[in-house]
């Protein structure tokens, strides 16, 4: 089995979809000849031509608006938003249009658009190349939100998204685009949407994260093990609909939970996860659920490592749940 990084895995999924589905169209800024600023669409322009891998004018609302028009006409568009920080000019098209088309038309117009966009910090990109706006979209009825943490899941989840008919925001953790490597099958396979993965089992504390933060909680679990604390590590993979069963089962077993994300804490997705867990596991909880998140500041440039959650901060939260 070949080893791939996340970019290569995404590229492989796109190539498979473009080959198998004649109605698939890729569109976005610099996705054609150049192959995307992160190279996710590299080679596809030459292989599938300028009518199916479209370099659009520089306007996100146009990219998503056009993708909607293509989808309701029966195509399977895969727009790219170059950085999720640039998604806001398309916010209305995504939130009010894409996510609502099926519902507002009484089911007449399904809108199978899969938006790909890199997300997260740690690349010295400053405020406008580092944000994690997932909560805004999880809060949008009608949209699925997926955020893988490794090449195998990236390819399998992307192919699963491309096979179903609901609109999806497929976020890609750009910090580990190349750093995360692993075995990935050459051919087609899917990873089920809505299923979390128990990365490693443990007894005392459940650590929950997604995207680039999964590596952080894995590190934290390792550090905790060194001082005799057993953690269960869960990679959420799909943020909406998130896998309530897996996390409930785990927290019921361990009695403690730490939720980690890069996005600001207040009204972040961690709040929803914690609240859902309280509703289901209160009687099993030994301590309040801890959240380790980005701060409620704009994403900084020089101090980005102070801003972002790290293994030590997660370890602190683990200890807090045990000492409570």
């Amino acid at each position: 089995m070949p080893t791939m990084n996340i970019i290569q895995a995404v590229n492989s999924a796109l190539r498979i979809q473009m080959t198998n589905e004649p109605k698939a169209i890729i569109l976005g800024e610099d996705v054609g000849k150049f192959g995307g600023v992160f190279r996710a669409t590299a080679g596809l322009f030459d292989e599938f031509g300028e009518d199916r891998v479209i370099d659009t004018p520089l306007a996100e609302a146009g990219i998503i608006g056009a993708a909607i028009g293509m989808a309701i006409y029966g195509m399977r568009p895969i727009p790219e938003i170059q950085f999720s920080d640039f998604i806001f000019p398309a916010f209305d098209q995504i939130v009010n249009e894409l996510a609502k088309f099926r519902y507002r038309s009484g089911g007449q117009y399904p809108c199978p658009v899969v938006i790909r966009t890199p997300v997260g910090g740690g690349i010295r990109g400053g405020h406008y190349h580092s944000q994690s706006p997932e909560a805004l979209f999880i809060h949008t009825p009608g949209l699925k939100v997926v955020l893988p943490s490794n090449p195998y899941d990236a390819k399998g989840l992307l192919l699963a998204c491309l096979k179903q008919d609901d609109p999806v925001l497929f976020m890609e953790p750009k910090k580990i685009y190349r750093a995360s490597r692993g075995e990935v099958p050459e051919g087609e396979y899917t990873v089920e949407i809505g299923k979390a993965k128990v990365v490693s089992e443990g007894e005392q504390v459940t650590l929950i994260a997604y995207g680039a933060m999964v590596d952080i909680i894995k590190d934290a679990a390792k550090k905790a093990a060194e001082i005799g604390i057993s953690c269960e590590v869960i990679d959420l993979r799909t943020l909406l609909p998130f896998d309530i069963e897996t996390i409930t089962e785990s927290v019921t077993k361990t009695g403690r939970a730490v939720v980690v994300h890069e996005a600001p804490k207040t009204c972040g997705f961690g709040a929803e996860l914690a609240s859902s867990l309280y509703e289901r596991c209160l009687a099993s909880l030994e301590a309040p659920i801890e959240r380790v998140c980005g701060f409620d500041t704009p994403f900084p440039y020089s101090l980005e490592h102070e801003y972002m959650p790290n293994a030590d901060r997660v370890l602190g939260a683990i200890r807090k749940t045990l000492e409570w």
Binding site: A59, A61, N96, E97, Q108, D166
Partner: protein
């Protein structure tokens, strides 16, 4: 308050076939329209007027939450005249005539207004936000201009599919101030998409006059910046509207790309049933536009061509009044959509969290309303 005078509007280049008395202007290019089609066009405009009149009346009676009339703008709707069934329409909220022309009947129209169990959109949106995929007329959104890049996407998909279908989208002159107008027009120009942009310049965006939307001398001239032709046409002249639309649709079908048409018209009444133009508009202004009424001009033209009679007009107006009476009773009596449908169509399948919420609501509904036990 300043008065928006049709004479000032007319001082710019404006394509016109009929004068205010319905006579063909000297040298005008009269589009070829069969007698049958002329009558159908007249019938559709009259239908809009009859429906609007009745709907606003029932709105004032408190039976209907909201309504939007098109008085004076009916001819602009019929820009759809040259379209085929496989062409797509992306309307805004003031083109009833386009829906009726396509065959969207009074029954569906009323059921949508009442948001009842027979509403083709399942009671999902407030009145006048129709959707008819079987007619290739796309679901209406309230935020203006969102349909513009969408129409371009559909047109690009048509082109990529190798068909010669086209997309047509409607919006008001106020919408030309949105980002989506610029973005959509620009995409269309670059992609050479087979799309026709129809601006209904009715002078007013709720209370804001068209001069407050743009400093350009017209709305049609904006086309230049996007590399496409712009046509400025008398939107109250049905034959001029059709002539411009014919030209734009032919261009699009031939692979020559998009066209912008500005239909110069006037909103005789308020923006909607919730509006009161007396607050912001000189009450004398609408009367200046009444001589340009599109229905009167078409009637005069048909009279001159000897294809109109009072009897025929009465027959048409009676027919739609009767239909409205019949379907209004049905629409009013029809119950709202079943409670459990609240959760349908958010996604193709219900995810766990919606299943939970649905169970909760159904339990509540059963407790509060014993009749639901049997539903």
């Amino acid at each position: 308050m300043n008065i928006k005078n049709p004479a000032t509007v007319d001082s710019l280049e404006l394509r016109r076939v009929l004068d205010d008395d319905g006579k063909v202007v000297a040298g005008a290019k009269v589009p070829e329209v069969s007698e049958k089609d002329l009558l159908r066009l007249f019938e559709t405009m009259l239908m809009v007027r009859v429906v609007d009149e009745r709907m606003m009346r029932i709105q004032r009676q408190g039976k209907l939450g909201f309504y939007m009339k098109s008085l004076g703008e009916e001819a602009t709707h019929l820009s759809v005249f040259p379209l085929r069934d496989d062409d797509w329409i992306f309307p805004s909220y003031r083109e009833q005539g386009a829906w009726f022309w396509r065959g969207y009947g009074i029954e569906n129209f009323l059921n949508q207004l009442f948001g009842n169990r027979k509403d083709p959109t399942k009671g999902r949106q407030m009145p006048v936000h129709h959707s008819a995929n079987w007619l290739n007329v796309v679901s209406i959104s309230s935020p203006v201009g969102t349909q513009i890049p969408q129409a371009v996407g559909t047109a690009a998909a048509m082109k990529a599919s190798g068909t010669d279908s086209v997309a047509m989208t409607f919006f008001g002159e106020g919408t030309s101030s949105t980002g989506e107008f610029h973005v959509g027009m620009n995409f269309a120009g670059v992609m050479k998409a087979p799309v026709i942009f129809v601006i209904r310049n009715n002078g007013w965006a709720i209370s804001t006059s068209s001069e407050r939307q743009s400093a350009a001398k017209s709305f049609a001239c904006k086309a230049v910046g996007y590399g496409m032709p712009g046509i400025r046409v008398d939107g109250n002249d049905i034959l001029a509207v059709i002539q411009a639309s014919n030209e734009a649709v032919e261009r699009a079908r031939a692979g020559l790309g998009p066209t912008l048409i500005e239909c110069v018209t006037y909103r005789i009444e308020g923006h909607s049933s919730s509006d009161d133009p007396s607050v912001y508009r000189n009450p004398a202004e609408p009367s200046l536009w009444e001589p340009k009424d599109p229905l009167n001009r078409m009637r005069a033209y048909l009279k001159n061509e000897s294809i109109w009679s009072e009897g025929l007009e009465k027959e048409i107006s009676d027919k739609y009044n009767d239909e409205i009476t019949k379907y209004l009773a049905i629409a009013e009596a029809e119950p709202p959509p079943a409670v459990e449908t609240l959760f349908d169509d958010v996604f193709q399948e219900l995810p766990w969290h919606l299943k939970e919420q649905k169970e909760y609501l159904m339990q509540q509904a059963r407790t509060k309303n014993p009749h639901l036990h049997n539903s």
